[in-house]
Symmetry: C2
Subunit: 196 residues, 2 copies
Amino acid sequence: MTKIITISRQFGSGGRTVGRKLAEKLGIPCYDAEIIQKISEKSGYSKEYIEEQSESEAGGLFGSFGTAELYGYSGKLTIWSNQCRIIEELAAQGDCVIVGRCADYVLKNREDIELFKVFIYADTKDRIHRIVHEYGETDVKPEKRLREKDKRRKAYYEVYTDQKFGDPLNYDMCLNTSYLGIEGCADLIAGVYREK
Amino acid sequence: MTKIITISRQFGSGGRTVGRKLAEKLGIPCYDAEIIQKISEKSGYSKEYIEEQSESEAGGLFGSFGTAELYGYSGKLTIWSNQCRIIEELAAQGDCVIVGRCADYVLKNREDIELFKVFIYADTKDRIHRIVHEYGETDVKPEKRLREKDKRRKAYYEVYTDQKFGDPLNYDMCLNTSYLGIEGCADLIAGVYREK
């Protein structure tokens, strides 16, 4: 049976790096930015537009309907349906790690897949340190960047999945990189994956 | 440095058994029912009263003040302060596992302790199966027993700690026994503990 690990993650938690290291350890592909690239190819929307739309909090999928919102609504639906199809296609290619994109939700009822759903998070001080040192400083204070991104990611996940973002009950395992380290998290997940 | 593992757990998740097996694997004591026993000895309240008070949702610690509530308030405070002292005393005796009793919160600012905070949860169907088969059937439907106990445990934790019960951010690791198994959870925690 195909074995797929999905990584949901807090912004600045290092979840993306955990996914990459994990895939290296297991010798399987890790899909992350590739998904945005593929949605762009299929839908015709630019990668920037897709990233912006798919983490936009403004009204969620079912916001109020002005003309601009109607356009946004249609765009979001196109992006979401392409995203679901691409995740299904990637899953059909065999064992892999998928970071973000609500893949845990998209694949959750597939009985032909052994799905291992992981949530990666971190202490606030470490998230701030990471976004400043890895993503660079901006005019906006890091605390505010975290708050805004958390709000958007939560709204995005909750609108599309009707599940609570970061609720352990949606996942098989939730790991704090502040305590366990990036490498430690990758090792733990790899260990469970190999035993299944 | 003393290394202590605290296990917070959903009712019916098997968290108590995880704690016991974990302590056996590590050859260290596991404190659970002993804490209630010790509170009873120190405070003079019966074990039943302590269990009932400490998971009572009625008004929390700072409920409305009728005569009965005043008595309840004073009882709760006595129990809570004894509980904190007993947890501190147990921690002073060396490495151990502590199940429940908000020990994660009581010990969280102790710089002389290497604290490893774990949350154990499970899928609803498995929790129902466990409470019916391990704790026995009652007149109350298992779904209702789960809901009521969840509500009480959440209220208890949140009133005393001012933290959200079951929020991954309070813990270093959250494990789903439905996916990982009781033994699997104990092994994972023991592995991390040994590496620290």
